[in-house]
């Protein structure tokens, strides 16, 4: 068996100075992600068919809505899942902060008999990004 000699780690003095300088200037940083409600799978939304599904089907598939809007004798239910991603870097001279909020959102419209008449969805929660602003 051949032993490979261990090479000592080498740092350039300028690199060490740069890293130490950055550490000295950074007084803190954070990364956070906050969610509201469970995500809404596209496959589940696809099972709700206008003209075929009713309020019972929608409640069984998506659960209790986040909001119910009465529209005369008709109604609409909203389902929503939001993702907020935040990043922050605090330097002695400056703080940088970025926040991105995106949502999965579904509106289901019902006729007078509680049958689904229309459905609209926008599934963008997965597109939320950790994005520190740069100049």
């Amino acid at each position: 068996m051949q032993n490979t000699p261990i090479r000592p780690l080498r740092f350039r003095p300028s690199g060490v100075v740069a890293v130490l300088g950055l550490c000295a200037l950074s007084s803190g940083c954070f990364v956070s992600r906050s969610l509201t409600n469970p995500s809404i799978p596209a496959e589940t939304v696809a099972q709700i068919v206008p003209g075929q599904s009713d309020a019972n089907d929608v409640a069984r598939l998506l659960g209790a809505p986040n909001e119910v809007v009465q529209l005369g004798r008709k109604s609409a239910w909203r389902y929503e899942h939001t993702v907020e991603k935040q990043t922050g870097l605090f330097l002695i001279l400056l703080g940088l902060r970025g926040a991105d909020t995106q949502a999965d959102r579904v509106w289901v419209f019902f006729d007078e008999d509680d049958n689904v008449s229309h459905i609209g969805s926008l599934l963008q929660a997965s597109e939320a990004e950790y994005d520190l602003p740069v100049f």
Binding site: V69, L93, Q102, G120, P133
Partner: protein, 156 residues
Amino acid sequence: MTCRFSRGVATCAALSAPFLTGCAQGAYSQFRVFQEPLEAAVAGLRPGESDLTETLDALGAPVFVVEVGLGMALAWGWQATTDWNVQVTGPGNARGRFQYASSDERTEGLVLFFDPAWTLTSLQSGHLVDLLPKSRRPRDIYDDLLDDVSDDGTSE
């Protein structure tokens, strides 16, 4: 022995001293909330012709739905701003603040109005708070998006 500094170094030191001592704080922030609908999708909608199905297919789910008269309004809203903020604290109660935002802090929006048969009657874009009267706005998690902002950029 006399220490000599160039004028540039002295100016730089004088300007950075408030920051280094914690008397001044600077912040650069970037916020994005939801996304603007595609322009082409909006352009394809025709008042008097487009119905709710066509609208939802083109724009997806709105941020909120409200009853307006015998019809309804659907609203989409989004925000994308970057801003600078410098705050200086002096002795006693002396304070100064400078703020610059790349765009208006109010939420941009698009509101589509529908008649009782749920056919598109009109389409308006602008600041969401201006498009829907206060009495027509839903009280919900979107309160932040719909906060009125005064002319100087501070919330009411």
